[in-house]
């Protein structure tokens, strides 16, 4: 089971307990049938679904029509957001997105989510049954342990979009979740090769490497799942180390729960210093080697 699924499983178990219900872990691919945290339902559309949000949404919709779950939780990844939205529209259910701290309130589910670039936390409510995507990085990962497998044949699925080829495949990492130290790189880095400085610091601190959105999206220097913030993952390390990151609200939204935030930035007026516990006004190309030297000594 991947790390996102294990977080969603934790959120699901909590809800199932408060509903005095049963938790069902649903997979749409045969290769995943052996995974799960509790009872596993394999929704079989007779075809390799292969991360195709179209097919996953349709398969889940058919299974849900039979099983009638109170809530369907999906990880708030890009695939997950598409799946959840399409599923909700097919089933005409309310859909909460990118929520955390999910809780039962009467016959509704309430969750928190970051809005307006993270300046505001909104409480949103959906009547049961509903669909929700769970913000990545906000729940602890459940350990695996399968108790039973059930197979639901849902018939052949309609593919609206053809997959021509896969250009890149990336291994999913769990680096950022659970990490007690995160060193995060921003546009203060001039080349991809220079990221080695951030990696070295992460290694010296026994931590993981993360980044701001432009590094993964605009430059493609790091995988999308390593970007932190509103559109990426939420992190909660003891130490968050921001290198060459300006500290725009959308980024800061993902680091609010860090115990200590440290920042290195050449610009004394960078907003990151407003949200940091400790900051160095300086050039990361000089400061990081100096820190590494001190840590070595």
């Amino acid at each position: 089971m991947n790390s996102v699924a294990r977080e969603v499983a934790t959120a699901g178990r909590e809800l199932a307990e408060s509903l005095s219900g049963e938790q069902l872990f649903v997979v749409t691919e045969r290769s995943r049938a052996g995974e799960g945290a509790g009872k596993v339902l394999l929704v079989d559309g007779g075809e390799e679904v292969e991360g195709d949000p179209d097919l996953i949404a349709e398969a889940l919709a058919r299974a849900a029509t039979k099983k009638r779950p109170s809530a369907i939780l999906v990880g708030a990844t890009r695939t997950g957001r598409i799946v959840a939205a399409r599923l909700a529209a097919k089933l005409r259910l309310g859909c909460l997105s990118d929520v955390y701290r999910l809780r039962l309130q009467g016959t509704s589910i309430v969750g928190d989510r970051d809005v307006f670039a993270g300046k505001v936390v909104a409480e949103v409510k959906a009547d049961l049954p509903c669909v929700a995507t769970v913000k990545v990085g906000t729940y602890p990962m459940m350990s695996e342990g399968r108790t039973g497998l059930e197979v639901e044949e849902v018939g052949s699925l309609h593919r609206g979009v053809r997959l021509v080829e896969t250009l890149e495949k990336r291994e999913s990492t769990t680096d950022l979740r659970g990490a007690s130290v995160i060193v995060s790189a921003g546009r203060g880095f001039r080349t991809k090769e220079d990221l080695r400085l951030a990696e070295d610091l992460a290694k010296a601190l026994g931590g993981a490497l993360g980044c701001s959105r432009p590094l993964s999206s605009d430059y493609g220097w790091l995988p999308e799942e390593l970007h932190i913030g509103l559109t990426g993952v939420t992190v909660k390390p003891s130490l968050y180390f921001a290198l060459g990151i300006s500290g725009q609200l959308q980024h800061v939204a993902g680091i609010k729960e860090s115990k200590v935030i440290a920042a290195v930035n050449t610009d004394r007026d960078a907003p990151i210093f407003q949200v940091a516990d400790y900051g160095i006004v300086g050039d990361l190309y000089q400061v990081v080697p100096a820190i590494l030297e001190i840590l070595k000594g």
Partner: protein
């Protein structure tokens, strides 16, 4: 939408001027580029209060040909994406035949990423989400979709619906002349009540609370030589107990 926060810490949404979401500029830009390369025309459609007309005009100045504004009297719940998508679907149908619908991966206000895929369900269109590159040839759209775990090349027949990511292009800034010319472009307005029919989804999602997020940090800033500042920082982090060694 811009936001003010009251002294009490509750966000004040009333009177906040609406403006175009950052990523929606990428969607508008891409539609104009497609028009420039393949012909056709671009209709800008939005659901909002009457002051959302400003947003429509902004997109017309970038190169859109006509606007279509679904005016909602009372602000629809920003988290009720299913209803917003439904209103957009009905508006798109009323606006006339089309080949392609473009939206952004997520809005600046709430970044739910829900309206696009929901819209594709209401319009029964193939959905190509999180797209960083679009090509159209012989009524077939080919896109590069960027997901966390993979980058995939997808194809579908038109009409289709695409949601773009921010790296797809660099949105243009309209010139003063374009801004002036945009005010002459037609904008049709329709009240949302005219689009709600028997097939509209029930309103199932509501916002029940909003709290401004406050974060208090120590904000200790070190200035000086790299060596001196680094030493102070490492000491501070040690005394916080967040360094393993």
């Amino acid at each position: 939408m811009e936001l003010r926060v009251n002294a009490s810490g509750t966000p004040d949404l009333s009177g906040a001027p609406s403006k175009m979401s950052t990523f929606d500029k990428n969607a508008v830009e891409e539609s104009i580029r497609l028009k420039e390369s393949s012909g056709g025309s671009v209709t800008i459609i939005t659901v909002g209060r009457s002051d959302a007309k400003k947003t429509v005009k902004e997109a017309l100045a970038m190169g859109g040909d006509r606007g279509y504004l679904v005016v909602v009297v009372a602000e629809p719940d920003p988290h009720d994406s299913l209803t917003t998508a439904y209103l957009l679907a009905r508006a798109i149908e009323r606006a006339g035949p089309f080949d392609l619908v473009l939206c952004a991966e997520g809005s600046s206000d709430i970044y739910a990423g829900q309206v696009g895929p929901m819209l594709s369900e209401w319009l029964a269109l193939p959905f190509l989400g999180y797209v960083r590159k679009v090509e159209i040839k012989d009524r077939v759209i080919r896109c590069e979709q960027t997901l966390e775990e993979s980058v995939r090349v997808l194809e579908a027949e038109l009409p289709a619906l695409v949601s773009v990511v921010s790296e797809i292009n660099e949105p243009r800034y309209p010139t003063l002349l374009q801004i002036m010319q945009a005010s002459k472009k037609p904008i049709e307005e329709v009240g949302s009540e005219l689009l709600i029919d028997g097939r509209a989804p029930p309103r199932l999602v509501t916002t029940v609370g909003m709290t401004a997020h406050a974060m208090s940090r120590k904000r200790v800033i070190f200035e000086g030589s790299p060596e001196a500042t680094s030493r102070k920082l490492v000491e501070a982090l040690r005394s916080e107990g967040v360094l393993k060694r």
